[in-house]
């Protein structure tokens, strides 16, 4: 187990960074959706 972890350090870092990045993208995309909804409702009303 430790061997596997020490040899593949880079890829574990990569996985963590990708996860964090994925979270950021998700947050931004949801934010954009909500802004669009509000903008549309303001246009109609």
């Amino acid at each position: 187990m430790e061997d596997f972890l020490s040899v593949n350090q880079m890829y574990i870092v990569l996985l963590i960074v990708l996860l964090i990045w994925g979270g950021i993208i998700l947050y931004l995309v949801r934010l954009e959706k909500r802004i669009k909804e509000i903008e549309n409702s303001m246009k109609k009303g």
């Binding site: 990569l14 990708l18 990045w21």
Partner: protein, 235 residues
């Protein structure tokens, strides 16, 4: 804007994967190997994140200054919204640049902070951003707030070239490109990177800037909505 959004996601994802996963070897052959930069080893990967983020914070600041100027010339609140939104993002990127720099400093030079000229100048930029927001929170009149913070961002912006270009090059220090650096002007300007590394680096530069543009767009739209809501409530 859709183009900006999707391309920024794709580009930064590419940079993360390429920047971290491609191995560094002594004699790189082919597209999927990076050279070892003297003195850095695996730590050289930070260059794909630290430098573009630092570059983006300066861009954000310049954009904030530009929209501040547009505001004082036209008194159009839209410009103030753009100016403060860009300043907020600039502050975020400045914080990230400082942190990635400090982590890199710990691994390379032994301490998280050394008061190296370039470290000092990014810290000063952080203080300028902080001062900008402190000024804004002290002004309740929206016209005065927009006008005076625009002027401050321009006055502070006058000193930024000194921090970015003059100080770190004139004074001796740890950061690459300081006076007396044996490697010259640092791995970026001296082109120490191989062409595939340079490619990933340039993609990173573009990707992070596009990410900033997308985030700015979101913030400006949200800011406009908020402004209209406030106007509706008070009218």
């Amino acid at each position: 804007m859709k183009v900006v959004k999707y391309s920024s996601i794709v580009l930064v994802t590419f940079v993360i994967i390429a920047g971290i996963a491609i191995p560094t070897v002594r004699e790189p052959q082919g597209l999927f190997e990076f050279p070892m930069i003297p003195g850095l080893g695996q730590k050289s990967r930070n260059i794909f994140f630290h430098v573009p983020v630092a570059w983006t914070t300066v861009v954000a600041f310049l954009v904030s200054m530009f929209y501040g100027y547009r505001y004082v010339r036209t008194k159009n609140m839209d410009y103030d919204i753009k100016s403060v939104s860009s300043a907020g993002l600039g502050f975020l990127f400045c914080f990230l640049a400082t942190v990635t720099g400090a982590v890199w400093a710990k691994f390379n030079w032994g301490d998280y902070w050394n008061w190296d000229p370039r470290e000092t100048s990014i810290f000063i930029l952080l203080l300028i951003y902080g001062a900008y927001f402190a000024l804004r929170s002290a002004l309740e009149n929206e016209e005065a707030r927009a006008r005076l913070s625009a002027v401050y961002s321009m006055v502070a912006g006058l000193t930024v070239p000194f921090f970015i270009f003059v100080m770190p090059r004139m004074m001796a220090g740890l950061h690459p490109g300081a006076a007396g650096d044996v490697e010259g002007k640092g791995p970026v300007l001296e082109l120490k990177m191989s062409s595939n590394m340079l490619f990933v680096f340039l993609v990173a530069l573009l990707g992070f800037n596009l990410l900033y543009v997308w985030m700015l767009d979101l913030r400006v739209r949200a800011g406009k909505i908020e402004y209209q809501r406030i106007k509706q409530q008070t009218s």
